[in-house]
């Protein structure tokens, strides 16, 4: 194995480790945001609300969101930022980075 090949292998391993670390951190951050901002309405029955928000498990496992819109990152991002129906807008409360991490975590919900 040449020096160049070894360097490339080390470089790839480091990059992979960094990617995995970032991915895990990002997902963990998304999970925390989910707990903080989503669980109380979406995962808990609340008879005081006019409409019970849908559960978010498997959100990205069907082609359509509960609203009927396509189940895409962009559509979910739009819903989070602008709100939808009685769901409040999170505009100004979550950064782009937060929304990315939240969507990343929503993809993991089975």
């Amino acid at each position: 194995m040449s020096v160049t090949t070894v360097r490339a292998a080390i470089g790839c391993s480091l990059a992979l480790a960094a990617w995995e670390l970032t991915g895990c951190d990002s997902q963990q951050h998304g999970a925390e945001l989910f707990d903080l901002h989503c669980v109380e309405c979406h995962e808990t029955a609340n008879p005081d609300l006019k409409k019970q928000p849908p559960k978010l498990e498997g959100l990205f496992h069907s082609k359509r969101l509960p609203s009927g819109a396509p189940a895409t990152d962009e559509q979910v991002r739009k819903t989070i930022i602008e709100g939808l129906g009685t769901m409040p807008a999170f505009d100004g409360r979550l950064s782009d980075h937060d929304v990315n991490d939240l969507i990343r975590y929503l993809h993991t919900l089975q």
Binding site: E32, L36, H37, T44, N46, K50, P88
Partner: protein, 292 residues
Amino acid sequence: MKRLTTTGLAALLLIVVGCQSQTKQYSLRGQVLAKDQAAGQLTVKHDDIPGFMPAMTMPYKVKDPAAMQDVQPGDTIAADLISVNGAKDYWLQSVRIVDQSGRQTAKPAVKHALKVGDAVPDIPMINQDGKQIHLGDFKGKSVLITFIYTRCPMPAFCPRLSSQFARIHEDLAKTPGDYDKTHLLTISFDPKYDTAPVLRKYGLAYLDNHAEGFAHWDFASADPADMRRIADAFGLEYFEEDNQISHSMDIVLLTPGGTVARYWSTEWTAAELEAALRQQAKSSANARGSKG
């Protein structure tokens, strides 16, 4: 994976206890801004409570008011927060004082400037149609007023208020006599974001897209200076922090003569509000009838 396992266990636990009632316990830590011993209530500016709510200032009932005897505004406390059935009811228990050094700088609590029987000021607002309205425009009707901001994410606060006002609106619509003598008014204290189009969209969501409902239920905001005057008049507290607005929960009933009839804070039901609104409309009509 650990996260999924934890979520799975929590879900299993919920299923197991689901047949009884959903009781959850959280840890709260924060600074007491106001104390109402008679009502057994503390207003706490608290840290994030994962799974319940982000950092915020809000009033909490205390299970055993005797336990808050020694607590003073300015104190930092720790307590167990108990939430039942999706925050339909929640309270603090096991309140412990962690730090008393903030007592010296604590601000006095705001009281209602307008007492029951006082006339409301004629402050201008802009409603969901972009039309200027005044608090005095509703004379002749009994009026139920509450205060929200459309981005409020706390189900026990603004979404609850608007959902319960929607229930009252739907009920009143079934009895035209009462519907015509009453009015609902939801005022946003976030005029920067809650412009007329935003309020219209928000209102339509609670009116099931029936725009004619706006004739009975206005959604309005006022410019910041006027909003502060309205808040001071009714004892509403709100301030912006960390890109969200901490606020008290206030509901006011006005007589058809434009005076304050009654206040509510955290303890109320839609049925109670609706009955008071109907009663106010009827008693005022009877009073007018007996004079004539």
